[in-house]
């Protein structure tokens, strides 16, 4: 199915190292339009490193990242954000002293086009721009059900809600590609289900590809269309969730069993 869809991003032979530690070795995969691609692997497999390479925080010493036909390997994170690559962070990166609304408005800054003078006097253009961007932000507040906490200071919000605000912040950039780094980490079952619902809603509404790094296998298998598995910085498998569940390499990486000795029930999610 994926071969028919438009290619959105191509990651080619990425290699990254920290001193003598080889974090990523020749990792290649494609991301297609409007798919949810899950990136999984045991701890330290290099998942977040890979996201950081895509969003521009790390610079691989070899390989390239092509986004919508353009090589973006040399671009800074802010340039990539302007191109539409938006991400959330494992440890939530928000202005903790600002309200939810202000956080979302702040991330619209790349779309706000008025100078300091009209801004400080709130002249016609500034006003129009603010209204336009506020409307966008309100759509996100509605989508992610954040109305209740619109005027609350982010610091005072519970963890699960802050995760949602972080997702809202990423969405406010009007992304063309969304990277989610462990969006469900530390959540309870109900919060996870809500988050999964939101991710599916975003995908359905925006029709953009989403790359999701996640440890919860149940969620990954449920919501993603394709899965890429990393182990010690090497891509060991790629495919649809069902085939990944049965993949010997993947089972070995997770369970540490010798290849070929697994039974029917030894699905990777058992590790959790």
């Amino acid at each position: 199915m994926s071969s028919l869809a438009e290619e959105n991003m191509r990651v080619q032979e990425l290699a990254l190292s920290f001193g003598s530690v080889q974090a990523l070795t020749e990792v290649s995969f494609n991301v297609y339009d409007s798919e949810i691609l899950a990136l999984i692997g045991p701890n330290g497999a290099g998942k977040t490193c890979l996201l950081n390479c895509i969003s521009g925080f790390y610079h691989p010493y070899r390989g390239s990242v092509t986004f919508k036909g353009r090589n973006i390997s040399k671009l800074s994170p802010s340039k990539r954000a302007q191109l539409g690559i938006s991400r959330t962070f494992q440890n939530i990166e928000l202005y903790t002293g600002l309200t939810t609304l202000d956080n979302l408005m702040a991330s619209r800054h790349i779309y706000i086009r008025y100078g300091p003078i009209s801004g400080s006097l709130f002249l016609g253009k500034a006003r129009r721009e603010e209204v336009r961007n506020r409307a966008k932000v309100e759509e996100i507040i509605d989508l992610l059900e954040l109305a209740e906490v619109r005027h609350r200071i982010v610091e005072s919000l519970p963890y699960g809600v802050r995760k949602r605000v972080d997702l809202g912040r990423a969405l406010a950039l009007d992304p063309k590609l969304l990277l989610l780094d462990e969006p469900m980490a530390g959540m309870n079952v109900e919060e996870k289900e809500d988050m999964a619902r939101f991710i599916l809603d975003i995908q359905e509404l925006k029709k953009i590809p989403i790359i999701i790094v996640e440890h919860d296998m149940g969620v990954v298998m449920d919501i993603s269309q394709r899965v890429v598995v990393l182990d010690f910085g090497i891509k060991i498998a790629e495919g649809e969730p069902d085939s990944i569940k049965r993949n010997d390499e993947v089972i070995r990486a997770y369970l540490g069993k010798p290849t070929g000795s697994q039974g029917e029930n030894d699905e990777p999610e058992r590790v959790q």
Partner: protein, 636 residues
């Protein structure tokens, strides 16, 4: 235009038509907070939306007399659909938004609804889950498309599509809508109101257009509504009260109906609206007091002193004003100051600064609650009624007795039967239960409606409702005892969210199962450095048990000797409508709860100091699990 000129309109759609002609786009009829902004709809907008929806409904096959179920929170759309259905001669069935799929199935099936109007994906999912059991279902209509983009059930229809369809029909037949409206008459059924079902399956009381309008006129006799007074729509539309105030009174007297953004944002939204007329259930009034009390406890010493001083003055003033007397010069002057310094800002904080009249009904409310609000300057009134009879009593300004439900409304007759049951006769009575002539016959005897409530009239003509007839208990010493009487008084404590008071015919004392208020008790524990983990853990802390014991001792002082609570248990879980322990209107299902917690009640009347309970927990998504706890039985 004088009020009399209004009386020609005998149906709600005719009133809408009148308002449209009278106000057009000059006045705002409805306001809804959406996308963070208050969006206004004028009477013209209201009229046009209803017109298009009505024409579309008829085009989709709605016949006069057909039922339309509405499964939604309070949103303008729900009201538009209601009026659209009325205009086409349809009957509206309100369903509580938090109903589970089997409950939804019961209502839709029992009422033979062919159309179900849903708010969003959550509600659509419920209906689609049960669609196979409802073969008559013609269309499932929704207005919030979020998450529904890729649903392709042929039953589904979006409000946008209906508006387009309706507009097209209107262009082809410009007078069609008015013809539909003209065919309606006062005797047409308007709504099915399901009784909350504290006992057995809910029954559908059928209420006509003219009954709703008649009730609106009757309450207006007392409280005289003004055009453009702000009303906050918050009660579920499945309730008679919202049908009366949110629909009938709004249309008749031109009240402006305001809809909060989400149920969770009401507190914030009500401040922005500053409503003149509000109607909350007793629980909400109780919660407001709890919130105030806890926040006062959290404030600085100076604020606390000011509040206490002002409250004493406010109480004195209220004692006089509730009787219609002047408080005297000294108290008058002091209460002016108290109002400026404390109560004004306080009312502003809870959004009731502009409130001219607040109503409470649905179930009993503690007299302390009514006195409290009068002390802080909110004119809170209690009224008595039900789906079958509408509103039949109401407090009058200057004649408010906190323990009563007020004086009968004009045109309502009362009779107290020999065994103390309240019987009512009113022009605006329901037209029977849908599909059950026997049940109607059971409840209406010689034109009198049997309320099933035990009560009497006091010397001033005020109705005093004690309890449900079936809940009254005779104890071993032959004395009558009303559990509700104890419960509402105990619920006044900020730390007690709910309580079930029990007695047994062969025992001589009363016991209680207490559901502590997690937030308030939690806060209380935190300020005293008492660590706790879960609800169970908190409820079983020695200090918390002592706290609840003190609340009970305080209430016991005002209870008659034989009704005093002698033993109690802090419940290990909260009473929950999702587990059928409460109705959707948050009344305890007494018989069910007593059966379910039989082992606890046995323990109250046993000798042990602790009891082991294992209970099945139903999660919101329907999954179940079992947990075991050891909880304590305490003597007061």
């Amino acid at each position: 235009m004088s009020r009399n000129a209004y009386s020609e309109e005998d149906t709600l759609p005719k009133l809408l038509l009148r308002n449209h002609l009278k106000f057009d786009s000059d006045q705002v009829a409805v306001r809804e907070k959406h996308m963070g902004i208050w969006q206004s709809y004028t009477w013209k907008d209201y009229f046009e939306i209803v017109k298009y929806l009505c024409l579309a409904l008829v085009d989709l096959g709605l016949q006069r007399g057909d039922r339309v179920s509405i499964l939604a929170e309070n949103k303008p759309h729900a009201f538009w659909y209601e009026l659209a259905a009325h205009s086409a001669g349809g009957v509206v069935v309100g369903i509580f938004a938090d109903c589970t799929p089997p409950e939804v199935e019961y209502y839709v099936k029992h009422s033979h609804s062919r159309f179900v109007v849903c708010q969003d994906q959550e509600q659509v999912d419920k209906v689609l889950e049960i669609q196979e059991n409802i073969p008559d279902l013609k269309k499932v209509i929704y207005w919030d498309p979020k998450g529904l983009w890729s649903y392709n059930s042929p039953l589904l229809m979006n409000m946008e599509e209906m508006l387009v369809l309706g507009r097209r029909i209107d262009e082809e037949h410009p007078d069609l809508f008015q013809q539909h409206v003209a065919r309606g008459s006062g005797e047409d059924l308007a709504v099915f109101l399901y009784s909350s079902g504290t006992t057995g399956n809910p029954k559908a009381a059928m209420v006509t257009q003219e009954a709703l309008i008649g009730m609106a006129r009757a309450v207006n006799e007392v409280d005289r509504y003004e055009e453009n007074e702000e009303y906050l729509s918050f009660l579920p539309i499945a309730w008679i009260a919202e049908q009366l105030f949110g629909v009938a009174c709004s249309l008749y007297y031109g009240l402006r109906t305001n809809f909060p953004e989400e149920p969770e944002t009401v507190q914030e939204n009500i401040r922005e609206i500053g409503p003149q007329v509000v109607f909350f259930g007793p629980r909400l009034w109780e919660n407001l007091i709890r919130m105030i009390q806890v926040k006062i406890e959290d404030s600085g010493p100076l604020q606390r002193i000011c509040y206490r001083a002002a409250f004493n003055i406010g109480k004195k003033r209220a004692e006089a004003s509730m009787k219609g007397k002047s408080p005297g010069l000294a108290v008058g002057a002091l209460s002016f100051l108290a109002d400026k310094i404390v109560f004004g800002p306080l009312r502003d904080n809870i959004g009731l600064r502009m409130t001219r009249v607040g109503y409470s009904a649905g179930s009993a409310v503690s007299p302390d609650v009514i006195s409290y609000f009068h002390a802080i300057g909110v004119n809170l009134k209690q009224l008595y009624g039900g789906s079958e009879i509408g509103v039949v009593t109401l407090h009058r300004d200057g004649d408010i007795k906190p323990e009563s439900c007020g004086l009968p409304l004009p045109g309502v007759e009362f009779h107290i039967s020999d065994d103390g049951e309240i019987l009512v006769r009113t022009k605006h009575m329901f037209s029977g239960y849908y599909g059950s002539v026997e049940k109607t016959r059971e409840k209406i005897v010689d034109g009198w409606y049997r309320t099933g409530d035990f009560g009497h009239f006091d010397s001033g003509g005020h109705l005093i409702v004690m309890d449900r007839m079936e809940d009254l208990m005779e104890m071993a010493d032959g004395l009558k005892f009303s559990p509700q009487f104890c419960e509402v008084r105990l619920r006044f404590s900020p730390y007690v969210k709910d309580v079930l008071v029990v007695a047994r015919p062969d025992e001589s004392f009363v016991g209680a199962l207490v559901n502590i208020d997690l937030i308030n008790v939690g806060q209380w524990a935190e300020t005293r450095h008492i660590p706790y983990t879960t609800f169970v853990d908190l409820s079983q802390k020695q200090e918390v048990i002592e706290l609840v014991r003190r609340q009970i001792v305080k209430v016991n002082e005002v209870l008659p000797e034989h009704s005093r609570i002698r033993r109690f248990i802090n419940m290990h879980k909260e009473f929950d409508p999702d587990e059928a322990e409460m109705t959707r209107t948050r009344k305890l299902r007494r018989t069910f709860v007593e059966e379910r917690f039989k082992e606890l009640i046995d323990a109250l009347y046993g000798d042990d100091e602790t009891v082991e309970v294992s209970s099945e927990i139903t999660y919101r998504d329907g999954r179940k699990s079992r947990i075991t706890n050891r909880i304590r039985v305490v003597s007061v």
